[in-house]
Amino acid sequence: MLSDETIRSLILEQFGSLLNDSEVNRLMPLVKRQYETSDKLASFDFGGLSAESTDYITDRRITP
């Protein structure tokens, strides 16, 4: 689960100053849900063809 701080920095990285504070706050739970969806999708076993087996998909911003 990503922290609020990480979510906020991801939004700012993506959209910079195009959104004001209140817009960023409104967007945060939706982005959080988006990453929760990512986690759920990642939990499926797709067998040997899993994209997990390639490393280019690793997002260094969110992967320790």
């Binding site: 991801l10 993506q14 959209f15 967007l27 939706l30 982005v31 988006q34 999708l41 499926f44 994209a51």
Partner: protein
Amino acid sequence: MNELLFKSIQEMGALIKNRKVSPVELTQATLDHIAETDPVLNAFPVIKAEQALGDARTAEVEISSGNYRGPFHGIPVGFKDNLSVEGWVTSCGSPILADHVTDADAAVVERLRDAGAVVIGKNNMHEWALAGSCTYSIFGTVHNPWDPSRTSGGSSGGSGAAVSAGQAFLSIGTDARASVRNPASYCGIVGHKPSTGLISRYGELPATSAWYMVVGPLARTVGDAALAMNVLAGHDPRDPNSLRSPAVDYLPSESETLKGLRVGLPTNYFFDDAVPEVESAVRAAARSFEQLGAEIIDVTLPSLEHMQLIEPSFESENKGWLLNHALHRGQDFLHQDIRFRVLAGAFARTIDHERASRLLNKLRWEAQKMFELVDVIITPTNSTAAYKLDEPMAQIKGGEIDVESANGQSRVTTRLTVPFNALGLPAISLPCGFTSEGMPIGLQIAGRHFDDKRVLNVAAAYERNAGPGYRQPPVVHKFNR
């Protein structure tokens, strides 16, 4: 109120062909009826009276000269406001496109004009077609003709309300998750979502490559929807998703029976949220199918339990088109929930799309296996009837849902229809009953890809032998003189 306005296209076409009804008088009666009823419904915000009467006069002259073009000749029709008409504004219900004049007819407009239809105007819709209601639109909210305090459904809600209330004999809508079938269900009419690739999307806005979105007819009878399919279906090289398909006469035969038909009745997902009145109406429809000679077979599509996870595989493209507007013209979104959903969509990653696509392929495989066992599947179109516009919560089985939030509204209005968009399969909604509050309940029938004729045949047989069929909604009687 003019009873002629509630005839089927099949009946009206015969009257026009035999010169018992004048297209000019019919068009004028339609315009008068819209003027009376639309202050309540707000379904037809764009009316082109002079152009429509001119087209009706042309139709009348052609028919008088023996040049009858077919069942749509002289018939008043409408189009959802995301389908372009040459020289008219096509707004998608958004202030951003409020002055967007399109320079060509959409393929479906062309085809209906060629068939002689009289284009009355544009039907209201939810902003950007991104919700299963018509609450937010540049033209204001659409109201349900069965109870104006309730939603018409959406996003083709203006089309559903207009056809139900006799403001048009046919309206053409679009359907990415529910948008033809949901308003058809809520307004007590027929809406057909055709197989992906069967009807050209050329001229639909926004011009995305969203393969799961289709254009489809809303009509009062299955026969009328089938007549529309005869005109609308066919390959169009201008639409990259258009597929070549054999020429088919979609009009159901009156002698068609359900004997020997294998009908799937789902054991998972489709009844999870259904309120008792909806569930019992659909199960009663299943018993009617059985009495008419069909075999009812229990079917399960396990991967539907992951439908919400599958959706990222196909929905981000449509939202991506709007990202620039969501960032730079945020104040021009009437429905701010949509704007923020579009912004959040920018955080979907390629790997999410890839994984969701694998889940979708699993669902496709399950559906293929299912359609080896059955010819069609029947489900509710929605888990509830149309909800009240001024109440934030809607009752589903086991609880309440916040229909003011985009996710809650989605669960109530699109959950049962979106699987067939994901699968690209034909699916029709037609009336199968009414709630104790008098609101229509929709039955959804879906079939194999390009098996639209069978879906329409089965729906017509049910409509003819067991279903309630189209009924005039109470709002039109207010104007009965």
